[in-house]
């Protein structure tokens, strides 16, 4: 059963990923949102580590996740929570720090995107839906998706034809 009204149609400005997790909803939510857990699992590429993570899990609260490549380069994500509905839904902005190597919040690039994470109860398991969009509000993202879906197919065909 679909438990919310999210627009699930992907377009060229929105990435949508779905996973069925072998874990109860509460545990999945806790592991995703607590800094101690994040430091254990967050690894976008092999060899990357998270030397520092902080999560102020409330609407208006900020987070900072510092990721480090084996060659020492830092990738530090920062953002602000827009929605916190434990244990099922999170909406937060996502930006990168320009430098990222500091111990405290540094200057961000100032180009936030929007991440929505949902944990939907499926018996003992949990369906996780991660949406990452170029747009910084759910409303503008969905309005774009609706308009975009009308022309996406013809445009994609054109891009393939012309692109090579």
């Amino acid at each position: 059963m679909i438990m919310n009204n999210e627009v699930r149609k992907p377009d060229d400005a929105t990435l949508i990923l779905t996973r069925l997790l072998n874990a109860p909803q509460e545990l999945a939510f806790r592991a995703w949102t607590s800094s101690e857990h994040i430091q254990q699992w967050m690894q976008p590429e092999p060899g990357m580590v998270v030397p520092f993570a902080s999560m102020d899990l409330r609407v208006g609260g900020k987070f900072r996740i510092q990721m480090k490549k084996p060659d020492g380069e830092f990738f530090t994500a920062v953002g602000e929570f827009r929605e916190v509905t434990e244990p099922e839904r999170l909406v937060y902005t996502w930006d990168w720090e320009k430098d990222g190597s500091g111990e405290e919040f540094g200057e961000a690039e100032g180009k936030p995107t929007l991440v929505t994470v949902e944990f939907l109860k499926r018996g003992d398991r949990t369906e996780m839906v991660l949406t990452h969009s170029r747009f910084t509000t759910v409303a503008s993202r969905d309005s774009h998706a609706q308009g975009w879906s009308k022309i996406a197919d013809s445009f994609a065909r054109f891009a393939e034809k012309e692109g090579d």
Binding site: D12, A13, T14, L15, L17, R19, L21, N22, A23, L27, A28, A31, W32, H37, Q40, W41, M42, Q43, P44, E45, F75, W96, G100, E109, K111, M128, L130, H132, R134, F135, S140, H144, G147, W148, K150, I151, S154, F155, A156, R157, F158, A159, E162, G163
Partner: protein, 119 residues
Amino acid sequence: MVEYRSSLLDRTFGALADPTRRQILAQLAKGEECVTDLAKPHAMSLAAVSKHLIVLEKAGLVKRRRDGRVHSLALEAKPMKEARAWIDRYRKFWEGNLDQFEKYLDKLQTKETKPDDHE
């Protein structure tokens, strides 16, 4: 994280945010058209349509060809390819993280269900 940003991409998405401009792109997806023909289906002046065309041009989504006084517009595919590249990079980023997240949840539960299994 420099590879995730692009000012051209910002202009691309800014240009796509308007329904009239999306409609113009849909018209052009069928092939090149002159400005007057492009303006016909829209309930607005030629000048207003021209303004939208300039936004699309600046975003790199369309290119203009001049034949005397007749200006024709055609789609430009590159920005859409860049838009897709943005999605692909974040797909890789999150897929990598989600793989690790799943493994970690498994590990957590093995620990939680076997409290005697101390290392």
